[in-house]
Symmetry: C2
Subunit: 335 residues, 2 copies
DNA sequence: ATGAAAGCGCTAACAA
DNA sequence: TTGTTAGCGCTTTCAT
């Protein structure tokens, strides 16, 4: 059923129907209620595309990972996407998903969606490094966009920013360990020594505790990598009393390796992970770790985007979502 | 830029541009290439909504979980959604995501999308139980829909079906255990004794091995639940030689509990999980488990939907995606 | 407060 | 082979 058929069936003009639907323009409350009631009764729903064509807005937002799904692990994704979708839904926007493996493909699709006006705005998940020129290009289409990344992005019109502040949790870990009296501290990194490592080392230094190079290892992704790193670290004549692993997966492997050489965690060795994956909640002992607040990130990104959508003029200030320490039972005061 | 402006700028009619874009209708290859080239040059992209309005098809598909996200765990979601999105992308369709918590809300949104023609079709993830009347209602809108569930759905026009055959993997586990000489076998269930349990028990019976009630426990979701169940099972004077846990999470807890009472896995007790979550690949020992093929499910669902989209006439036969056994190191021949 | 009518940008008959 | 034109279903002036 079209608005024409519907309007003539209930004996009003299409303009009146439209006014009743949107609640704007002059219309008496009585007619409005009548139209709304009969819409339900006759099951009339306006054609989405006709509305979009005439208003020029699609009421859709794209979510794109630019092929960098690894960086925000799978489990982060669901929480993030759900938070975004629900926040968008509340304001009548829909979420268009782009999960292409290849970032080039991903971008191609995104550009087409923007140029063809299929989406009004974009949420980009950028991981560690942000391609500023890409953002400038997107901005040149005058379509709002917000970037979730480890850094803030400023000074590009139409581009908002949500920064995942991993340094915060890392500093909290440093503080915790120093508070508990640890002085020989190890770090097991993922492929790259990143902002977490930097912040951790800096904070330790600030607290008067130097991170010795021999206790800093770059391991990899898997639990086996973590186990290997821990085993290697434990070959030193003077062992660390606490180890911070860049990911929970590494930490889990490290935990196993420590147990394998007869060490008790946390009695003989304190251990801290990062990410708060479910498994670290029920290993033995449950690991102290750092949590990334995905839902908050999603919400912040959505709010930023909605604000850009309403007034492209003022780019809202970057939002920060710090990671935070989750205390469990794998850290004790050093003997 | 609109098609009008573009067409007059390059000196042809809008019809010619449209023909060039879609490659149908009579048009010389020369003009076609020319138009395409100038499109790139001038950066003209047709307005999505105008196209949709006039063709009456939205080139969008909705993915909906009906608020039942628990059932397909988070990690399944990403693989599934990605497979679907990529398969859709290849045929020019976009994916509209619906992750609402509440199934009522979820349905409301879905109905609006369908009625307003915002989507051409739907992929529903239904988990264990399928609401047939709901499907009939959706079908009455004459919008294709495919259901991913544990059962097949047949006989509803416009409704396709992809069945996740968990019974297959369950039977493989039964066979494996019997092959390895196990006769006293335990089962740790999640909240409900489901198709996995049924198939497992049936297959055991078929192989001449009865599952004793005292070795069948209904535990819960968490690893702790699994640990508790295993501890209880091990209080029996005659212990099982092998245990099948309904989820890997339960199995991981059970593994810990077995170790805690001094049992070696698999030497003293064989253990099988279900779901193939990453963690079971790197625990000690790596667990034999059952894998659910999410990407295949997504692909099958998408193919089914696309076929329905092309010809609503013949509902394609239900597709089956069996779960399969993943052999690792937690099962040995019984002594 | 309500109605008439002019588009929104595109596709697809129909004409040429 | 190409152009002309009538819609697609809606919103929004501008009249009334």
């Amino acid at each position: 059923m079209t608005i024409n058929e519907f309007a003539s069936q209930i004996g009003v003009s299409t303009a009146t129907v439209s006014r009743a639907i949107h609640g704007r323009g002059r219309i008496s409350e009585k007619t409005r209620q009548m139209v709304l009631a009969r819409m339900k009764e006759l099951g009339f729903t306006p054609n989405f595309h006709a509305q979009r064509l005439v208003t020029g807005r699609s009421q859709m937002v794209a979510l794109d990972f630019l092929g960098e799904k690894q960086i925000l692990a799978d489990m982060f994704f669901v929480t993030l996407a759900q938070a975004i979708q629900q926040a968008l839904h509340a304001t009548g926007y829909g979420l268009l998903l782009n999960l292409m493996d290849d970032s080039t493909q991903s971008l191609l699709q995104l550009r087409r969606w923007i140029k063809s006006r299929a989406v009004d705005g974009t949420i980009l998940v950028a991981g560690a490094k942000v391609d500023r020129s890409l953002l400038c290009e997107l901005a040149s289409a005058r379509t709002p966009c917000v970037v979730i990344a480890q850094q803030t992005v400023k000074g590009i019109p139409f581009v908002g920013s949500v920064a995942l502040e991993l340094s915060h949790g890392a500093r909290q870990v440093a503080q915790l360990l120093v508070d508990k009296g640890h002085r020989r501290i190890g770090f097991i990194g993922a492929e790259v020594l990143d902002v977490v490592y930097d912040a951790f080392r800096e904070e330790l230094e600030r607290l008067g505790c130097l991170l010795s190079d021999q206790f800093v290892l770059t391991a990899g992704r898997t639990a086996q990598d973590g186990a290997r790193a821990m085993a290697q670290m434990l070959t030193h004549p003077v062992r660390p009393t606490a180890v911070f692993a860049r990911t929970d997966t590494l930490a889990l492997g490290a935990l196993q390796a420590a147990k394998d050489v007869g060490l008790k965690v946390p009695a003989d060795l304190s251990l801290v992970g990062h990410d708060d994956i479910p498994a670290v909640g029920w290993c033995d002992p449950p690991l102290t770790t750092v949590r990334v607040h995905c839902a908050e990130m999603g919400l912040a990104a959505t709010e930023t985007l909605l604000s850009l959508l309403q007034s492209n003029l003022l780019p809202p200030p970057p939002r920060h979502v710090p990671s935070t320490l989750v205390l469990r039972q794998s850290v004790v005061t050093v003997k």
